[in-house]
């Protein structure tokens, strides 16, 4: 796997950027194109969200939506509180969390393929969910198992590397090992439980938004409220690390400590996302890259990745809900398919340019 830095090939900036200042302690450079892309993404997210609530036989017509949210009748209350509302809000949160986690992982590992999957988090979550499915069928919710499983996987990776989270390449290698064990275990459980439980488990470990509740919303949004600001604060120090550890240390970047903090933040976000919706694949991988390409920023932007991830998630779930397979089909299958095609597109483009 090539370890090409994300910012490689970014052109030198043609002109100085306007800078947003507040006193002497805050000075944020503003990229015009990134701001425009962010605005467009936010509008697209809003449009996809409105479509999610309005489309289909269970949708609330656009004209009545505002009134229904203010004073819901029985049908609107059911749709907004039970059927589509929590699902939509979960989707936005999960997508944003995955997007930010992906942006952080890819920067810190300097690997465009960095995502929670490659360090074993998703597989650990599957294994945890599988354990709960096996031991306590129908008693405890799978998300609790997923949460415990991903924490266990993270602990295994942390102690497995022998160096904590300071060495990205070791993290990826150990993660592959942990993931393989976890997936083998999941397959074993799937053969061990009844066929009905197996189907439920199979759907859950693909990553699904079906039947989400406000509890899932709380899990992911509280985490975002806590860790989102951390991610924004850390993002600027990450820019230093991108230039290489020695240089970053010389400039006061404290690369080891930053790296550990960044990984912990990314892990927290993706764990919450996985606990809320199961191990949905490829959003963390593709959202930062698409956002970076659209905005032509040198590195992965945290804010844009969050918007992009949320938009991708809502759009994927919208497609699943309106698909002939029905709303129970795991949304993770669609993201995996689209993510895979995107990888293929990148590959074809790269070999046309002759750079791979």
């Amino acid at each position: 796997m090539s370890a090409k830095p994300l910012g490689a090939g970014a052109a030198a900036r043609p002109r100085p950027r306007p800078i947003l200042r507040a006193g002497t302690w805050l000075a944020v450079p503003i990229a015009r194109r990134a701001t425009v892309v962010g605005g467009v993404l936010a509008l697209a997210l809003l449009a996809a969200s409105l479509l999610t609530l309005t489309l289909g036989s269970l949708g609330i017509p656009l004209g009545q939506l505002a009134a229904s949210i203010a004073h819901p009748d029985a049908r609107a209350a059911f749709i907004l509180n039970v059927y589509r509302g929590p699902r939509l809000v979960t989707a936005i949160g999960v997508g944003a969390a995955f997007g930010v986690a992906g942006a952080l992982f890819q920067t810190v590992t300097r690997n465009p393929l960095g995502s929670p999957d490659v360090i074993g988090l998703s597989s650990g979550a599957s294994a945890g969910a599988a354990t709960f499915g096996l031991l306590l069928p129908g008693i405890l919710p799978l998300p609790v198992g997923a949460l415990l499983g991903s924490l266990a996987a993270i602990a295994l990776v942390y102690f497995g590397t022998g160096r904590g989270f300071t060495s990205p390449s070791r993290m990826i290698l150990v993660g592959i090992g942990v993931a393989a064990m976890a997936l083998a275990y999941v397959q074993f459980v799937i053969t061990a439980v009844s066929s009905q439980d197996a189907v439920v488990l199979g759907a859950y470990i693909s990553g699904t938004l079906a039947d989400r509740s406000w509890g899932d919303v709380a899990v992911v949004w509280i985490t975002i409220a806590v860790l989102g600001p951390c991610a924004l604060a850390l993002a600027r120090r990450l820019d230093l690390i991108e230039m290489g550890d020695e240089l970053a240390d010389a400039l006061g970047g404290r690369s080891s400590r930053t790296r550990t903090l960044v990984v912990l933040t990314a892990l927290g976000l993706s764990t919450a996302a996985v606990a809320a919706a199961g191990p949905i694949s490829f959003v963390a991988l593709t959202a930062p890259q698409v956002a970076r390409r659209l905005a032509r920023t040198p590195g992965a932007s945290v804010t844009l990745s969050a918007l992009m991830g949320a938009f991708m998630m809502v759009l994927a779930d919208l497609l699943v809900q309106q698909s002939p397979f029905g709303s129970q089909l795991p949304v993770g299958l669609l993201t995996a398919c689209i993510g895979g095609l995107y990888l293929g597109y990148l590959l074809v483009r790269e070999w046309k340019k002759g750079t791979v």
């Binding site: 796997m1 090539s2 370890a3 393929l113 497995g160 590397t161 022998g162 060495s167 390449s169 070791r170 290698l173 150990v174 592959i176 090992g177 942990v178 393989a180 064990m181 997936l183 083998a184 275990y185 397959q187 074993f188 799937i190 053969t191 066929s195 009905q196 197996a198 189907v199 199979g202 759907a203 693909s206 694949s281 490829f282 397979f325 089909l329 795991p330 299958l333 669609l334 995996a336 398919c337 993510g339 895979g340 095609l341 990888l343 293929g344 990148l346 590959l347 074809v348 070999w351 046309k352 002759g354 791979v356």
Partner: protein, 352 residues
């Protein structure tokens, strides 16, 4: 000659583990090869002897050389198919692991990387879902074309105008795995009956396989072994990088083609027979490399002996630890292989 080939390859990642040793010589490796053969023989006997009905090793020997009509003989006979499959598939997986790691110059290369597993699963699931095919023998014929098609697709996608390169192959494998994997899940989850069938196949097991399976996959495996046998020197050259290999007179493109076909034959045959078994193809070359060094002329024969030994011992272990039930060998190999990977990583020096 052997010395330069072993010491020269600049390889990334795992293989930098451990202290650099002088290349082991034939006079230490040949006895080691005999030892590996001995371990394999022991594994074969254990596989025939251990299980719900334990047969003493001496009786196993008797049952093999002069079969009578005793009950023990029947037990041993019933274990012959799974032992044969374990032998063949263990060797096939580990040899294809050597080939794939050599071709992709990726120490984490696994035959699954080339899409063989998802390809086999996809046609299998399709066959069961839409053509209600797929009991027993038909599975081999369902799994094989998918395995080959997926490998061909990975190579096609991975080969630009200038031929396949390691990075492209790895990426192409990831692409095919993601897209086809989603298809498999979508179909199997939409048809509970298919899922019920599929979940027992995909875990990878030597148990309950018919003896005729051996004959069905044997031609593919034999051809795969034969093609692999001509590769070691070319793979040694390839380890030096495409440019150096070409400069040394190696035919890089041809090596990749033959290697890809060999790995596909081996891995597809074994996957069709016993389901996807993870980690044997990944871990065995690593275990072997730790005492042979990187010379493929040693790596390959050793892997062909260590792989089946590992698979058979894992299968025996799966019969023992959950007795009277069994744990599928695919689960055991993952749990044996992953710690090997962890150890290898922990021994790595440096950060990159």
């Amino acid at each position: 000659m052997a010395d330069t080939a072993t010491a020269a390859p600049p390889r990334a990642g795992l293989s930098q583990s451990g202290p650099r040793r002088a290349s082991p010589r034939a006079r230490t490796l040949l006895p080691a090869l005999a030892l590996a053969g001995g371990v394999l023989l022991f594994a074969v006997f254990l596989s025939l002897s251990v299980g719900q009905q334990h047969v003493p090793l001496g009786t196993v020997w008797q049952a093999l050389v002069s079969p009578g009509h005793a009950y023990d003989d029947t037990v041993v006979q019933s274990r012959i198919p799974r032992t044969l499959l374990g032998l063949l598939c263990g060797a096939a997986l580990s040899v294809s692991g050597v080939v794939v790691q050599g071709l992709t110059r990726n120490p984490l290369g696994d035959p699954g990387l080339l899409g063989v597993n998802v390809g086999a699963s996809a046609t299998l699931v399709t066959g069961i879902a839409f053509f209600s095919a797929g009991t027993g023998q038909e599975r081999v014929w369902l799994a094989l074309p998918g395995a080959f098609a997926a490998t061909a697709a990975v190579f096609a996608l991975g080969s630009g105008r200038r031929g396949a390169t390691p990075v492209r192959l790895v990426l192409a494998g990831a692409v095919i795995t993601a897209v086809v994997g989603a298809y498999i899940q979508a179909v199997s989850l939409s048809y509970p009956q298919v899922f019920d069938d599929y979940r027992f196949w995909v875990v990878g097991s030597l148990a309950g396989r018919d003896a005729s399976l051996v004959g069905q996959v044997l031609p593919y495996l034999v051809l795969g072994f034969a093609l692999s046998a001509i590769l070691p020197s070319s793979l040694n050259a390839l380890a030096l990088g495409d440019d150096t290999a070409t400069a040394l007179g190696a035919k890089v493109g041809r090596t990749r083609l033959i290697g890809g076909v060999a790995a596909a034959l081996l891995c597809a045959g074994s996957t069709a027979a016993v389901g996807p078994i993870s980690f044997v193809g990944l871990a065995v070359p690593h275990i072997v490399r730790s005492f042979t060094g990187a010379d493929h002329r040693w790596l390959m024969p050793f892997s062909a002996l260590v792989g089946p030994a590992l698979l058979l011992l894992a299968d025996v272990l799966g019969r023992v630890i959950a007795a009277p039930a069994e744990i599928e060998v695919g689960v055991i190999t993952a749990f044996l292989g992953a710690p090997v990977l962890l150890l290898a990583v922990r021994r790595m020096r440096g950060r990159s």
